[in-house]
Symmetry: D2
Subunit: 313 residues, 4 copies
């Protein structure tokens, strides 16, 4: 399209990471440029600086939990907007240089999370092997691809093994076959994507005071409008022990009446509320709308109130 610069997508790299693999599932990314960044922070800063159109970073893993670097950067950095999420099954493979047999593997290189998530498989199949930790699974694959490397194999994503022209010695070796990582696509602040009927809204909530009472109050603000949460993560506010904020995903879109009213309620009772975006759910699950909490029910209630306030009209 003349005059429209081609989109470019930053991602948490290097090439061959799971984030890279997740990026390739996005249709838009097929025509845009993919640019790896060494850290989540560098990727998000490139988005803020306009160096890339959008950035893809991991936010949550079903085994390891929330990704602190992402959660904290979105909370404390300059404003950004989540416009999309991607879910990727985590499938680890063991890759080696051509000609290496499983029985030959003495030294394995991988990222600590990958090591933790394949521990049972490794101790069953490579009980004698020494496991060494690298900065990323893709970096491990690159190192192993070097003919002079002292490492025999890497635990990494399939994309990394293929990228570095390694041979798979074993596939799907994760101890938990259902492990999933969730990624978010982040842009500079701008229009919120329109509602699709199956949306999620990500918020960061700073409570005012004591722990349990204030969290209870937050949940009641949501419950009284019929808004359900599908994720809640506590994060330290980095001041004193016992001071938390909460990173949450609520079912629904900011344009939904129940979510809008709940947001206003949170704004009133919280010390601070950060809106990080409303976007389509990757799983397409429609929300469970309780009786009396549909957009229509809210519109009825508003019309009723208007008639009471202005009986002449």
């Amino acid at each position: 399209m003349p005059g429209v610069p081609p989109a470019s997508f930053g991602y948490f790299g290097p090439e061959g990471t799971f984030t890279h693999q997740a990026l390739l599932t996005l249709p838009a990314a097929k025509t845009g440029e993919a640019i790896p960044f060494a850290t989540v922070g560098a990727c998000l800063d490139a988005v803020r600086a306009g160096e890339v159109t959008a950035g893809l970073v991991p936010i949550e893993n079903s085994v390891e939990g929330g990704v602190s670097a992402t959660l904290d950067n979105l909370t404390y950095g300059d404003p950004l907007l989540i416009t999309r999420e991607v879910l990727l099954p985590v499938q680890f493979c063991l890759f080696a240089r051509r000609g290496t047999r499983l029985a030959d593997v003495r030294r394995v290189l991988t990222h600590p999370h990958a090591a933790a998530q394949t521990r049972s498989w490794l101790s069953a199949h490579l009980p004698q092997a020494e496991i060494t930790e690298a900065g990323s699974t893709a970096g491990a694959a690159a190192e192993v691809a070097d003919p002079g490397s002292s490492y025999d194999a890497a635990v990494c994503a399939r994309i990394a093994g293929e990228l570095y022209r390694l041979d798979p010695l074993a596939v799907d070796i994760a101890d938990n076959a259902d492990a999933v990582t969730r990624f978010v696509l982040v842009s500079r602040p701008g229009p919120v994507p329109p509602p699709t009927g199956a949306d999620k809204t990500t918020l960061v909530l700073f409570i005012r005071v004591d722990q349990s009472g204030a969290l209870l109050e937050i949940l009641e603000q949501l419950a009284s409008r019929g808004v359900n949460l599908c994720r809640i993560e506590s994060r330290p506010t980095k001041t004193t022990l016992g001071s938390y904020c909460f990173s949450v995903d609520a079912e629904g879109h900011i344009d939904d009446a129940r979510l809008g009213e709940a947001l206003m309620g949170l704004h009133r009772v919280c010390a601070d509320v950060i809106f990080l975006g409303s976007y389509p759910r990757a799983d397409g699950l429609e929300p469970n709308i309780l009786p009396g909490t549909s957009n229509a029910a809210y519109a009825d209630a508003a019309a009723w109130l208007a008639r009471l306030r202005h009986p002449q009209a």
Copy 2:
């Protein structure tokens, strides 16, 4: 004022009742016509029919509780609007025909509620007297005023004794010196009186299903917006035992943001909500506005939400 018909005020009579006495405390009633009705229902029907401009009826007594006839008529009859409340200390007196001495009193006539509320005084000062029940304290005074009456004295309001030219044998004989009756002035539906900063809003709430859960839900709708109740009365819905509605007075005015949002919430979760009016509190008490629930806090929250939804604007 040419062209404007003079106001007329119906009240729960006959002449000389406490309601009559309460009506006389209203400045507007001084220039209008006061018309007694034999029952609360007859008075309210006259308002509905336009035979009187407004009607004053008792709604609550600090000793006896809610006045069922008023609560039920406002709930199940055609719509009416409360525009004002009046509080009147209940001060009973013992009146007799001229020349009667306290020691002469053998037979006392009064309304059952008056008998109940002066029981201690009567048994202390007229232990031998026979107490007979009449339809109203004012009617009792009228009967006693008849020179041929077989009753020696009436327990009634001061206004009734004076009206029937009786002599007071004792004043302020209520066992509970602080007893108060609350009356409401009711009109046909129309504009709600403007907020004064110290207002009350009267509602009837029909719950959907089981008792405790639904009542809890109602209270949470109020609490999550910072709305306090100053009265709650359960009333049977006249269908089956255990089926209730709740007559409540909430602090604040329908034009207040927190009350408006709470009303919409109640409209969504209740089987039915009847709005009976917002009007100035007779005691002038300003509401206890919790942090984050002022009209300004609601306006801030609404502006914040609008900016999130329409970041361009």
Copy 3:
């Protein structure tokens, strides 16, 4: 049984009242003596004084609501224990002296509640008749039975018409065919009847402070233990307007673990809790026991806590 004095039952009379009719449905009353009292208070005082073994009084009517005289006497009088409840459909009849035809009826005598509950029937079938209020429906029947009475007919219970040898001109004339009155059998304090699996517990709860917050707290104490309410009545505490206590019926028996723990919770948060008894439900309805709130679930939890506190044992 030698040595055991025969039971005697007081009731809210006179003979022929609905309470009398309700008493006759109790098997135990068939062999005991039935003694009428002119007022609820007199009946309950006779129980307290040991003049009767137990007393039956009305507590609630599906059309009129709670019976204030009973609720207040049980709350503020010396302690009593409810041991049983009776439900009686309210079926009004029109009775007259033998030979009177419906078309002859000009003057009808009845109690105000009976007049209110048959208003539609009376205006349809006796539009010209004058309705006069009496102290009780049974008293009205007695008066009409007097050949010299100026009243032609009485609206009363069937039992009253039969007692005074009147002829029924019409039966089942209540405007609401499903109206029910509930009565409670009350004894001096003593052992609580054992649980039957379908029981009710009656309490009076005095809240500490402001209306809505304190009531919410009460309901949360019940909800957190899985206790449902089947009746809640607000009653003024007779001090100032806006000061309430709540008369409630909870599902379950004081020996149930969930109710016991909820009672302790109420005792902690309320200004006062009056226990008026646990007794079998007249309708035999078993409670809806939520997951985790059965007696077995409570026993499991208590055993688990004991093991945690005393791991050696």
Copy 4:
């Protein structure tokens, strides 16, 4: 003491870690043996196996949040009991071999968390230096102490610098001067330390179903007994995204009545509750006991209930 084997204390090592430094603050550790373990898991397994009397591991950092390895091991491993907590201010120093000046430092070695927490200081004072990540700050110090090392300096705890006979180039270089790490001392299951009046209880709560409703229910179980939380951390259950458990610290001791009753309530409503111990608070803060929630108030309520259930006694 003859016959009592000397205590031995495992800790998350190697020598010179912050955990080591925290261990040295414990009086008991002064006479016992201190044994480093390479991972949190190895340390806790040694406790389970009886190889050490107790183990000290980090559980929470005011900047980084919960320590996943510890939280997950305590949750999913064989039962252990927390008997004590230690708070340690996080004070990072820059250490180098004797003779190195700050201006000479080109390559810095440290643990990623330490790098993150001293980022501002490093970029201000060593803008040109290359930062490399090591497995632990103590390991970094050991490496730097090697005269042949290619690294010029280490960011580590003071204890590590002193242990490896390095010279401090700068002290207290953490960006957040108030950063604190919290450690827990863990033993095999056994008697809970007695209450001190300022205690904490650590639990893991598995919720039954949907996120927000179940968490609200948990908080209400705590609130209805007057139990406050001083920490709440969500952790994935490692099954599917959106499935969480909560690691919480509650104010109070398992022997406190309010905490015992709340624990039983949680046991009833949660899918699972893991009790990890009650122990003295390191900060000595006494709990805020709300009216009606003291041990005395609970004892009163229990005695009252017993009298109602057994009026004879």
